[in-house]
């Protein structure tokens, strides 16, 4: 992975984190809950990728 790709992965994550922090600061629970839903979707995606990698590594 090139450095540009690393930055490319880190910055969106940092941006979404900052938006979540902003929601927390404003006391907007609905907005924070929206960020949590998006984060859970990201978790689902990463989790599915991990499962697929496990299958590939084990020859399944």
């Amino acid at each position: 992975m090139k450095a540009e790709e690393i930055i490319g992965a880190a910055i969106p994550l940092a941006q979404s984190a900052l938006r979540a922090i902003e929601a927390a600061q404003s006391g907007n629970l609905a907005e924070a809950a929206g960020h949590l839903r998006a984060a859970r979707a990201a978790f689902d995606s990463g989790s599915a990728a991990w499962d697929a990698a496990n299958s590939a590594a084990s020859g399944g």
């Binding site: 880190a10 929601a23 927390a24």
Partner: protein, 219 residues
């Protein structure tokens, strides 16, 4: 676009985002500068390490440690603290360089090591951000929800970055087991459809994200 330009843009981006927080009184303007500066410095160090490893991997087989070190000391390399640390006795080149010197290792092994470093950078970067929540004046439930979002996002992103390494067999059995355990343990709180109260889960999930970081930190 060179590294300085990209890092400058990142700093500007972070400062802008932080400015929004400062405008609402969440953090002091001086804190925004400090946090943005710290994050950019962190990214810069990680970048330097990756560049160094890529240069070492690009050397022909048999170039050996001396050649790699020589390359890392080229004038204008600007490696700074990262290179200094890597030249400490016992510091060594790490698994990446070791792998790159193996027969057939080459660029693939270096790319693999870079991915690990990148995953560590992402996790470390995002782990710094929840600390900003301490400065937030919002209610506890909203803070917990936001913090859980950050931690779950971090874990999900890390899993996505680690998946190619797993598929290529570049992780040890112990790492695979630990990562799987972290995933399974955090899924009840982080997977879609979870009904767990964020306030009850956030401390555990943040700790799990920290565990994930420690796995990479030891590599």
């Amino acid at each position: 676009m060179n590294r300085a330009t990209i890092l400058g843009l990142i700093r500007h981006l972070l400062t802008t985002a932080g400015g929004a927080l400062a405008a609402t009184g969440a953090v002091a303007e001086t804190d925004v500068e400090m946090i943005a500066g710290g994050l950019v410095a962190l990214i810069g160090v990680v970048w330097s390490v990756i560049e160094k490893r890529n240069r070492a991997a690009a050397l022909p087989p048999g170039g050996g440690q001396g050649a790699a070190d020589s390359a890392s000391r080229k004038p204008g390399g600007g490696q700074g603290a990262a290179d200094s640390a890597s030249r400490k006795p016992g510091g060594g080149q790490g698994a990446a360089d070791s792998a790159s010197r193996k027969p057939g290792g080459g660029q693939g092994a270096a790319d693999s090591a870079s991915r690990k470093t990148g995953a560590a950078a992402v996790v470390l970067l995002v782990l710094l951000l929840p600390a900003m929540l301490a400065a937030c004046a919002g209610d506890a439930q909203t803070r917990a929800t936001a913090a859980l979002a950050i931690a779950c996002d971090s874990i999900g992103t890390s899993l996505g970055q680690l998946a190619p390494l797993r598929a290529q067999g570049r992780l040890t059995a112990g790492q695979v087991k630990a990562i799987g355990q972290i995933r399974d343990a955090t899924a009840p709180a982080c997977a879609s459809g979870s009904a767990i109260d964020p306030a009850a889960a956030v401390v555990f999930v943040e700790a799990a994200a920290g565990q994930l970081k420690s796995i990479f930190g030891g590599k």
